[in-house]
Symmetry: C2
């Protein structure tokens, strides 16, 4: 497990929706060896004050228009925190770590501050094991292995595409659960990393996440931030974006033979004093739609001819336009946005 991390292979990508991204201060000790891509939400007109001493590149709406063109930018949307996907597109690094602006470093049970980036990169550098479940969790961790009965032919694993970290303190609950359990905080540190098995879907959260950009970068986008271009940001399905992206990613990883890990590392999510009733009003469409979206992704089979992540992602976009036409007109825009993203990724890579 002790592995050398090459800082030249890593970009940290953060989205900024407020002029003062002061949460970055808390991360300076851990981020200083790395390059940070700061993406300013296109609607934010003030100048962003990036903490001094941070090795960073700042991208604004002006850069997005210059690089993508106004037409493509309008299709991709990049409203709210989804603008971080522009940073994924601009990066040339192998590994990306991204986190929300309400996160600060968590402490492990011994009281030491956790460097989430290190654990994420270790998760990504070690293989995933989606084809058979290991009861001692990640078999590549120090002090662990494959248990008796694990077929030897499956022990080499497959490349790990995504590492999903967790959250101490504020768990990532939906608004109805927050309303029912306003005081519940996550205090349980579960010292485990595991691969989500092949065929199983899961609720991916973008709060604390890292991925291998060379493998899965073309799928780290939702298309749901498209709507609202030229209109006020629609937020009836707020927070569905990373869930949607996660469902796409899982289906694509299962199709192409990559793995997704979940578990360590933890970050600490600060109290946001947000009103769960307001969240509910932002989420209710998403909560309802999810009941139709999940069976779609459970049944989704990608054609054998879809051999790249770009192809798979565009194919899902195509099917979304067809399948969800009657659920909401928004989804035909979402499908187009997904297809445009796949094209933009191809263009940026070539």
């Amino acid at each position: 497990m002790a592995m050398e991390i090459n800082a030249n292979e890593v970009d940290i990508v953060v989205s900024v929706t407020r002029p003062d991204p002061s949460f970055l201060e808390a991360w300076m000790p851990f981020f200083s060896p790395y390059h940070v891509i700061v993406v300013q939400e296109p609607e934010l007109e003030e100048n962003v004050k990036v903490p001094s001493g941070l090795n960073h590149t700042l991208y604004t709406k002006h850069d997005m228009e210059r690089i993508l063109g106004i037409g493509v930018l309008n299709s991709l949307g990049f409203r709210g925190h989804s603008c971080r996907a522009f940073g994924y597109l601009m990066s040339k690094k192998k590994y990306i770590f991204s986190l929300d602006d309400d996160c600060i470093p968590a402490k492990d049970p011994n009281g030491y501050l956790i460097n989430p980036l290190e654990q994420h990169i270790v998760n990504l550098m070690n293989p995933s094991t989606p084809f058979f479940f290991n009861t001692l969790y990640d078999p590549y961790r120090d002090g662990s292995d494959f248990v008796r009965g694990y077929p030897f032919s499956l022990r080499q694993g497959v490349p790990c595409a995504i590492s999903c970290g967790l959250w101490m303190n504020l768990p990532d609950y939906d608004a109805p659960t927050q309303i029912l359990k306003p005081d519940e905080r996550n205090t349980r540190y579960v010292d485990a990393v595991l691969t989500v098995p092949h065929g199983a879907l899961f609720p991916m959260s973008g709060i604390n996440i890292a991925f291998n950009r060379e493998i899965i970068g073309p799928a780290m986008f939702s298309g749901l931030a498209r709507s609202g271009a030229g209109k006020p940001l629609l937020s009836r399905y707020d927070t569905l974006e990373d869930i949607w992206c996660g469902l796409c990613c899982k289906v694509i990883c299962d199709h192409l033979g990559y793995g997704i890990k979940t578990g360590l590392p933890y970050v600490w999510r600060k109290e946001d004093f947000g009103d769960p009733m307001v969240s509910l009003s932002r989420e209710y469409e998403g909560v309802k739609w999810l009941e139709e979206i999940v069976p779609f992704f459970q049944a989704l089979r990608l054609p054998r001819t879809a051999l790249t992540v770009e192809d798979c992602f565009a194919e899902i976009g195509k099917q979304v336009k067809d399948k969800f036409r009657n659920l909401d007109p928004l989804f035909s825009e979402v499908g187009t946005s997904m297809e445009d993203w796949a094209k933009a990724w191809k263009a940026a890579s070539s």
Copy 2:
């Protein structure tokens, strides 16, 4: 999670292959409220010395012959630790807890002795969630819940059939891994319980296990202890028995809509000073066969007409006879033994 355990619904079942089952002494504080079924291995001719004060029933070869008849007993085999299945057949209780004779109570990170039975029963009394993975592990535990993005329609879960516990100190590694890592001990206490997702197979261990007998009892048998009736115990596939049983159970649970949990509780496995080279000589056939057995179970589909666990188990037995005829003649005996077990279970239940 705080649930009242009714001692009248629980049997502890242990197999005894040595005249002095002194490991039971270590469990007296935890086992005293419960009834213990002690099954004496049919080849063991000495009288077993059960610790005084243990509320127990002892079954010997004489009882097996009397209850099953010599023909059925020969077919089921019950050699070695597999004889505990006779105890499952005799029990009339809802929940069974079974553990190996090299286990003593483990301590949690705060230094308190763990009562594994309590945690197992809580795991079994709460639903399983095989149809969507929850990143905060068992959503029914105190302090946890379903995370954002988990479809509400899947939150009621399905009945939990089996709870597989883990092991501190000696992990359950196969002989090749033991030879490579003779000093590796499991010291990581992972504070989690989770459902093995639908469609994913896993290496079930019988070392520390509990199950809902009313649901899955008819599948808690392997058929691999059949061979050797009238011959010395064949041990070329030693330790494959619970793995085989676990593959059957998982396929049946996936077919009938039940769940299997893994994780807490831990027991402490004592150093057994066994020679891994001897284990290797006992396991090599099993290790080799596993590479053919796992793809069989991955591809196995049970007919819609198999509506009970007995039917499913007998159906697998039938397919095993056909499918593995060329792998080893043993498997036609295994298939017959599985069919006979299903019949014996039906007879015992009626």
